[in-house]
Subunit: 200 residues, 2 copies
């Protein structure tokens, strides 16, 4: 596992890039992309700018790594929530509830790293976040379309919009209880649009 390859050649790295990505993920999530400077990052990582740029290319490059890591550590686990055996409305409700819980779980990193990233002022980072968000939206859309094709677009938009709102309000300091109440209320609209009878 830890024996990957023989040492490359030159001087060995003085830091662990994967751990650096994890640290960067925390920082970006806590303060937002724009509010984290390269100086903040190099200080938090205990390295100097040249090491930073040699390893990650740019601030946006590191952000892309952090977003990639986020999918496996911190984001909503869509694959396990969107279960083909469960009614669609129930699955979507589970996603919204998970969003509320995850966005409020850590007050120092509230909301969704990706959704908040789509609002930043760096074009490269914004595109990274947008691509990740689009991928998640596609997953939801395909899940709905499999059983309710005529409702897929509308409900996907509704899910995306609701999650964006939940992320924003989580960053405004809304408590878990308030976010959960909103998520559940939002789920009722979905249940109404997808009568249980049409579960398959």
């Amino acid at each position: 596992m830890t024996t990957n390859k023989a040492r490359p050649r030159g001087r060995p790295r003085g830091f662990d890039p994967d751990q650096a990505v994890a640290t960067a993920q925390r920082l970006f999530h806590a303060r937002g992309y724009d509010a984290v400077s390269v100086a903040d990052l190099t200080e938090a990582l205990g390295i100097n700018p040249p090491s930073f740029y040699a390893a990650f290319g740019s601030k946006a490059g590191l952000y892309a790594r952090a977003v990639g890591r986020y999918a496996n550590a911190g984001a909503i686990p869509l694959p396990e929530l969107l279960c083909p055996n469960r009614p669609v409305a129930e699955s979507l409700a589970a996603v919204l509830e998970a969003a509320a819980r995850i966005y409020a779980a850590n007050p120092d990193a509230a909301g969704c790293l990706v959704l908040e990233g789509t609002r930043c002022n760096d074009p490269a980072a914004r595109e990274t976040a947008r691509a990740s968000n689009d991928a998640a939206a596609d997953t939801i859309r395909r899940f709905i379309a499999a059983r309710h094709p005529e409702e897929a677009e509308r409900l996907t938009d509704y899910m995306n919009t609701t999650m964006a709102g939940l992320s924003a309000k989580a960053r405004d300091g809304y408590s878990l209880d308030r976010l959960l109440a909103t998520a559940r209320l939002a789920s009722q609209a979905i249940a109404q649009a997808l009568p249980a009878s049409a579960s398959r």
Copy 2:
């Protein structure tokens, strides 16, 4: 109307502050607070920095003026939508529909100036936006509480969250149709929570 007061004393202004606020409002709404620099503003206004700071104190000061103007020109007209003669659920649905329409009305200034402002990186501007948003939330909360006190908190949170989502997605380029569909779906949850029978 235009004859306000006798000329003050010294050298007359070379620009109209009210028109400058209107221009600034457009710029802030189009690009967001952080992405508009003082240099952008002074250029758009055709003035130099000293005139800018003499008139508005700071970038955040001008933003406060722009937000104040927004309430009367661009924002959702809550006072006329929250009509005490109409059922609460119907009024709230009208607010969400207005949000969708207004947020998508101008593609060059999508979303809500205030809601997006609450996400900026300048503490002073953020506090200005937050105060304005809180005032709007209070208006909604009192309107609901007048007839459905036990639902006021939950529905106000739901409204705020939904509008934040609509604003974010409007900035993502969602069309009016998509935003309207989401707003209407969201309204169904409200209608369900406030049975028509309890209209008074």
